[in-house]
Structures are given as C-alpha cells and as structure tokens.
Amino acid sequence: MENALKVKDLCAWFGNHQVLNNITMDIRRHAVTSVMGPSGCGKSTFIRCLNRMHDLTPGFRVAGEVLFDGRDIYSEKIDPVLLRRKVGMVFQQPNPFPRMSAFENVAVGLKFNGKKRSRSELAEAVEKSLRMAALWDELKDHLDRLGSSLSGGQQQRLCIARALAVEPEVLLMDEPCSALDPVSTAKIEELIEDLSDKYTIVVVTHNMQQAGRISDYVAFFLLGDLIEMDKAARIFTNPADKRTEEYITGRFG
C-alpha cells in the first residue's frame, strides 16, 4: 500500500468553534510529509487527530475519517492505546519523564505496554532506539543520568528514541525543533531524513526553510483549511494556489 494514512473529510471542533474544515489528504508511506502554515491554522490540531491525542480534551470532537491500515481510527473497535503504539508522537517542547534516567525514559514504553521483557532484551531495545536517534554515542556511558539533565537537543532526541522504542509505523512530530538552537535543529533534521527510510513521518512546522529541507510532501494549511498538498519541490517552485504562493514569498504569516 502506498499510503500510511488516509484522511477523509476530517472536521474538528473545540466546543462550538470549528478548527478543521473537511480535510482530505493521503500521507505517503516511508516519506516525510510536512504540515505547514501560519500560527492558528490548525496544523497542530490536525496531527494530534492522527493518533487521537485529543481524546482527553474536554469539548473536543471530530467528524470524518482517518484510515490507518484501512480502518477508521475513530471507530468503536479501535483501542486508542494500541493505535498510539503504532502512531507515535514527538512534541514541541522536549518532555522526557523528569524523575527517570535516560535509560528508563527509552525503556518505559516497552516496560508498560504488556509484553514481559528480560533485562538484556530491554537493554538491546534501548541501544537500538538510541542509535536510531543518533544519541547512542553521546549517551552510552551516561545512561543513568536523569533525562531532564541533558541538553535541549539531546532531550529531544531522547524523546525521539523513546517514541521509536515502541516500534511505531508512523511518527508525528509537532514542531520538534522550535525550542532548539540551530545546531540541534540541524541534527534533528538530519535524523528525520534518515528515519524516513523506515518510518512514515509527519512534521508540523512553521519554518518554510525547514519544510523545504526535510520534506518529500508539503501540505499547506490556512485557517483550518487544507489549501493544497503536493511534492515539496512543486509547492516551493510552482504552487497551484495564490495563497500558498503569498505565504511562501513571505507576504503574510
């Protein structure tokens, strides 16, 4: 199958306020899709719909469909807990668990999602995830350090490792670099490109250069509408919609 996620006519409301209007898009497997747009355009709300992170938000509701593996994730039969193990998430602010070591931070998802694992299996999984997050070499001798004592960039890569440890298929990233310095940002961007061989990645960003550097596909959102979606090169060189062009050329947003 070409597409990891299919979104059909997705609408979302906070109370009476509609924040997403009939979004329809396909998210390509093993590619990086950027969701771009000015603040308040609904891009964060949108990707949080893809793993049901809004479930606990009072007053939030959705209509439409999000198909994952051909099934609507909002249907009665889907357990959101299992869904989130397949569709992981990295947040804007690095949020390692404060009272846990780096090792525990990465191991925690495996520890608490049912299957019993031996110590060595856990250690192996942690190493693998940290290697994928390009953090192993820096951290292998400091695995007992508190996750919150690492630098901001390391914390964010730790959070990526933590998300990868539960072996998701899709990784959602909500402005993963906006709290980081340029050097850390570059590392994360490089990481995103590497990971896209094996994972489907959806990145929210308001940074056009970033979207240009990392994306295979770009979706442009404005005021809760999906204006257009296309291959990255196409969007940046020859957008179909005037509003996209205006945004890209910096005339607003």
């Binding site: 479930d55 209509a63 909002y74 959101p80 807990v81």
Partner: protein, 310 residues
C-alpha cells in the same frame, strides 16, 4: 462519538477504585458528624438549647451546662488573637518588606518551626516557665495596682485565662504569619513602586497598600488563627486552671471546651455525663467548622478579587 479513554475497562476499574477511597474519606467525615450527634442525643433531649447558656456543671447532680466552657474557649482565644495578630502581621511585614535577603529565610523558617512543636510541649513549658513568670512579673504587680478593675482582679494563682491566651498566641502566630505573608505578596509590585515614586516613605507605602489591599486578607488570616485557637487542647488544659466558672478577671482560672473533654472524658461514668461531654465536642466541632470555612471564604474571595486587580 469520540470515546473517552476511561472506556478501557482497566482504566475504568482504576478510576472506580480511587473513587472508592475518595468515598471512604467522605464517609469518614459523615461518620464523625453522625457519631457526635448520636452520642449527644441524650444530653440534647434532656437539656435542649438551654445547654448552651447554662452555667451549672455538676456531674454529681447530673446537671450540665456548657456556658463556662464556651466562655473560656472564646475569651482565651480572643486574648490569643489580641496578642498574636499584631505580632504576626508585624513580623510578616518585616519579613516581606524590610528584612535583608539573608535574614528572610531564617526568620520565616524559625517562625514555621514554632508550628512543629507538639502542643503538650507548649503546655509543659507553660506550666513551668510561662505561668510562674507571668504570675510574678505581670499578674501580681498588675493586680496590686490595677486590681480595682474587674478585669485584673486578684487573687493571683498563676494558671489563668491570661496564661492560656498568651500560650495560645505563641501557638497560632505561625499560621497567621504565613497567611499574612501570602496576602502581602499578592500586592502588585507596580502599586508599591507607584507610591514610592511619588515620594512616599517605605512606611507610607505599606500603610497605603495594606490599607487598600490587605485588610480583608489579614482578617481572613485572623479568623484562621481563631479556628486553630478554639480547638487547641493540651496547652490550654495545662495552664487555664480548669475551673468551670465565669469570672471577668483574666487573672482568674477558667475552663475551655477542649479542656473539659480532655480532663473528664475518662471519668465520665453516667450516660448523661458522657453525652454532655460529647455534646460539648459537637458544639466545638460546629464552631470550628463555621470559623474555618468563614476564613477560607474570606481568603478565597480576597484572592480572586486581587486576581481581578481590585
């Protein structure tokens, strides 16, 4: 259409389990009240409302009235507030506004330490240190010069309303102090600076700002201290003199609600005697309940008003 995460059966089970324990706490509160009422019933039936305004306390004749104890509790607490409020508010202002940085934490810490001392130790210190000192250095001279005033009439024994009030004041100061500091800290810095920039002295700033902002909060802190003082048992029992009389002189012994329960509960042989003591407990319970919630309400409305910038 969006299901709640609580729909997962294990999540639901966990939520309900915690709810059971929460209900347990609610149940305990209810049980406390219900048992107090049930055990008070014989006395309530026998004496009715007169219980609250009768002066007699005669276990032999089984004739009981709570007035001397209510009076003693109120008077000793009032004396305590009279001493504690100015000192606590004064030190709160000192710590928040005047003290150099290095002094703030130690002073606040020491004042908080006062709250950690068990009440029986206050009582012990009261019996052997405070009462003799008060008797010889304050009450005896005062009684001989001002004894013509009913408030200071002798003879002086030592254990007295005044001793209880003073000891209570030391015990409730930490509470009034810490709430007062919180109240003072809610004043916006801009307002303080505004007064200073107009050429006001530090004292004028405090007077104006406190006059405008902090009076209700300090009143709330006072009521909170009152709630503490009303129910204090051991220290009061040990220094108040334990005499069930209503005497105007604060140099004379008195009795308090908590003290009479502490002293006589194990000796209460008859059903009616025990019931009368429990009813005193019930009155004390209701009194502290009203006072505590009044304090909470005052502080809450004050805080929300401060948040709105009024």
């Amino acid at each position: 259409m969006t299901r709640k995460a609580g729909d997962n059966p294990k999540d639901l089970l966990f939520e309900k389990t915690t709810a059971v324990f929460a209900f347990g706490v609610l149940f305990l509160a209810f049980l406390l009240f219900a048992l107090l009422v049930r055990e008070s019933l014989p006395a309530i039936r026998k004496f009715g409302a007169a219980f609250l305004v009768t002066k007699t306390w005669d276990p032999v004749a089984e004739s009981f009235g709570a007035l001397p104890f209510i009076y003693g509790t109120l008077v000793s607490s009032f004396i305590a507030l009279l001493i504690a409020v100015p000192l606590a508010v004064g030190s709160a202002i000192f710590i928040n506004e005047f003290a150099p940085e290095w002094l703030k934490t130690p002073v606040a810490f020491l004042a908080e330490l006062l709250a950690a001392i068990p009440s029986v130790i206050y009582g012990l210190w009261g019996i052997f240190v405070l009462v003799p000192v008060l008797r010889d250095w304050l009450m005896k001279p005062a009684a001989s010069y001002l004894g013509f005033l009913p408030l200071f009439k002798g003879p002086v024994y030592g254990p007295s309303m005044l001793a209880a009030g003073m000891l209570l004041s030391i015990m409730i100061i930490p509470f009034i102090l810490s709430v007062s500091r919180e109240v003072l800290a809610t004043v916006p810095r801009l307002q303080k600076e505004a007064v200073l920039s107009l050429g006001g002295t530090h004292w004028e700033m405090i007077r104006i700002v406190i006059g405008q902002h902090c009076i209700p909060g300090i009143f709330g802190a006072t009521i909170l201290g009152l709630g503490r003082a009303l129910g204090e048992t051991m220290a009061v029992t040990m220094v108040i003199g334990n005499r069930p009389d209503i005497l105007l002189s604060i140099f004379q012994p008195g009795y308090s609600m908590a003290a009479v329960i502490a002293n006589e509960f194990t000796e209460a042989t008859g059903e009616l005697y025990l019931s009368a003591l429990v009813e005193i407990g019930l009155v004390l319970f209701l009194l502290t309940f009203v006072v505590n919630f009044a304090a909470k309400w005052i502080l809450k409305t004050m805080v929300s008003r401060a948040a709105r910038g009024l």
